[in-house]
């Protein structure tokens, strides 16, 4: 089932196209990462999906949904709250404004606050909340009305490693009930919770597909062979007929169409006089793919 379909989405501020003919489809119960460098148009894209910004052009369709605003939950990068409300009062207000049935509101608000780990702090004013607690409240307000689509703008960028881990675990749990689209530039996070990646650069969608597809496309697999000394490494790299380069005591040997195979390589190493410490096959991390996509000149 399709959750949301975005076609030719464009936003122009004056002459500048901040988002340029972006099209993609999100299937239900999937997690999609919107990846791109700063200024690529991630936040603008999300803002248009929430209805905060009117697109210059293009369509956003959610099958079977009349008012998209009722069917989405949104967490901005820097959520701002009314600091004079308590967490419970805030959640009660947002649930009411989202059109939740009145008799359900109180119970639901309490349940969600406990779910995000704010059960003990629910009657505290938001003014006294730490960054991590505010992010939890942000997630709570985004999911309280059980949206079909959850939009998160850099959900963990501002958190410390512990907070990041906790929020990621929370999101993984939420993912089982809803569709998630989140922007990020922290690629480890994207790697952890993604069915699909969308690469944005200068407002254009330059790459999309499952993580596996994108990886296969951009991967430049290679062997990493570590020798005891850098002399050995240099000699091995120059003597063998591999496409290889030596960096200190490590040799990187490219793999082209699965050649040479690991077997061939090991065979060659075994018959050489050099002392090998470690041999491994490397695949590109999302970070390297990101650098390639972000750095290439749009010809892909």
């Amino acid at each position: 089932m399709t959750c949301i379909q975005v076609a030719q989405l464009t936003k122009q501020f004056g002459e500048q196209k901040v988002v340029d003919h972006v099209s993609f489809t999100l299937e239900e119960h999937t997690a999609t990462a919107l990846i791109g460098p700063n200024g690529a148009g991630k936040t603008t894209t999300l803002s248009m999906l929430t209805g905060l910004l009117q697109p210059t052009n293009g369509q956003i369709i959610m099958p079977g949904v009349k008012d998209i605003r009722g069917a989405i939950g949104f967490l901005p990068q820097y959520p701002q709250y009314f600091s004079w409300l308590t967490a419970f009062e805030y959640l009660e207000m947002t649930a009411n404004l989202s059109g939740m049935e009145k008799r359900k509101v109180k119970k639901e608000a309490q349940k969600i606050l406990e779910f995000v780990g704010l059960g003990a702090a629910m009657n505290k004013k938001v003014a006294a909340f730490s960054g991590g607690m505010k992010q939890r409240l942000g997630i709570a307000q985004a999911i309280i009305h059980q949206p079909k689509l959850l939009l998160l703008d850099e959900p963990v960028s501002a958190l410390d490693p512990v907070g990041r881990r906790e929020i990621m675990n929370l999101l993984k749990e939420i993912q089982q009930q809803t569709t998630i689209l989140y922007s990020t530039h922290i690629l480890n996070d994207a790697e952890e919770m993604t069915d699909q990646v969308l690469f944005l650069r200068n407002g254009q969608l330059v790459e999309q597909g499952s993580l596996h597809q994108v990886r296969t496309k951009f991967d430049e697999p290679r062997y990493k062979i570590q020798f005891v000394s850098s002399d050995e490494a240099r000699q091995f790299a120059s003597q063998s007929e591999l496409v290889a380069k030596a960096e200190q005591n490590i040799v990187y040997a490219d793999i082209r169409e699965e050649k040479p195979s690991m077997q061939q390589l090991l065979h060659r190493l075994a018959s050489s006089p050099y002392h090998v410490v470690k041999v491994e096959r490397e695949t590109a991390s999302l970070e390297e793919i990101f650098m390639k996509v972000a750095g290439s000149d749009g010809t892909i």
Partner: protein, 260 residues
């Protein structure tokens, strides 16, 4: 209706927890009691601290209750209104500016409910302040200068409250349409400078909201012309209606300027 109640509760809590419901009425009480007390003891004050030369004779005017209510009204019309306008001129624009509105605007909200709730709570603070201020003024006026008919006093107070509804409608509407500094400037020009202009060259016309406070005072000394008062009353209500509509329109239109 549900949304309206939710917004009303939110605005109420904001004004209550930021103590606007307390300190603004206190300002009005202080403004209200200053004139009756100061005028009553003026002669003593001058004798005590005036450092007047020997044989200096002062002529104190014979003041009546109405003069002191007029003086208090003058205070409310200047300092009082500035306090009220400054307190509520950011009611929309500040929320957009600091991003607290973002998480409201992404929901299917009614801007009509939002605007009305803001206007009603701002007006409530204004009306409570006016009642407190006039009550203070009235208390010392009656104590020191003589009686005022309660019914006429109520008529004056009621008239002034209509004027305040107008002032707050302008304030909230401007806040919906502009950024805070611009909204403040335009509201002050419309309300305070408008009042000054009206008092200078206002002899040429009679039906304008700026004259409501004057007509309120005329209820007290019974010099009000009812036909003119009713025309003014209806014009003011119509203008309030216009500003409310304009405000709702702009609150919706400017929603996209919210900081994300």
């Amino acid at each position: 209706m549900g949304q309206f109640n939710t917004f009303l509760l939110k605005e109420w809590r904001e004004s209550w927890r930021s103590f606007k419901f307390i300190w603004i009425p206190i300002v009005f009480i202080l403004l209200g009691i200053t004139d009756p007390i100061l005028n009553y003891f003026m002669e003593d004050i001058l004798n005590a601290v005036g450092n007047m030369p020997e044989g200096f004779a002062t002529m104190m005017p014979e003041l009546h209750a109405i003069d002191l209510l007029a003086a208090s009204t003058g205070q409310f019309q200047s300092i009082g209104l500035i306090v009220l306008i400054a307190s509520y001129t950011g009611t929309f624009s500040k929320e957009r500016q600091n991003g607290t509105a973002t998480l409201l605007y992404v929901r299917p909200i009614s801007f009509t409910a939002m605007f009305l709730s803001k206007w009603i709570v701002a007006s409530s603070v204004a009306i409570v302040s006016a009642i407190a201020g006039y009550a203070g003024s009235m208390y010392y006026t009656v104590l020191l200068y003589g009686k005022v008919d309660p019914a006429r006093f109520m008529a004056m107070l009621g008239t002034y409250c209509i004027w305040l509804l107008f002032v707050m409608a302008v304030t909230v509407a401007m806040s919906a349409a502009f950024k805070t500094p611009i909204a403040t400037t335009i509201t002050i020009v419309l309300i305070l400078i408008g009042s000054v202009v009206d008092s200078i060259i206002g002899g040429f016309w009679t039906v304008t909201p700026y004259k409501l406070s004057t007509y309120g005072l005329r209820f007290v000394d019974e010099s009000v012309t009812m036909s003119i008062f009713w025309s003014t009353f209806i014009l003011t209500l119509s203008l309030i209606f216009v500003f409310v509509i304009v405000g709702i329109y702009f609150s919706k239109k400017r929603a996209s300027t919210v900081k994300v």
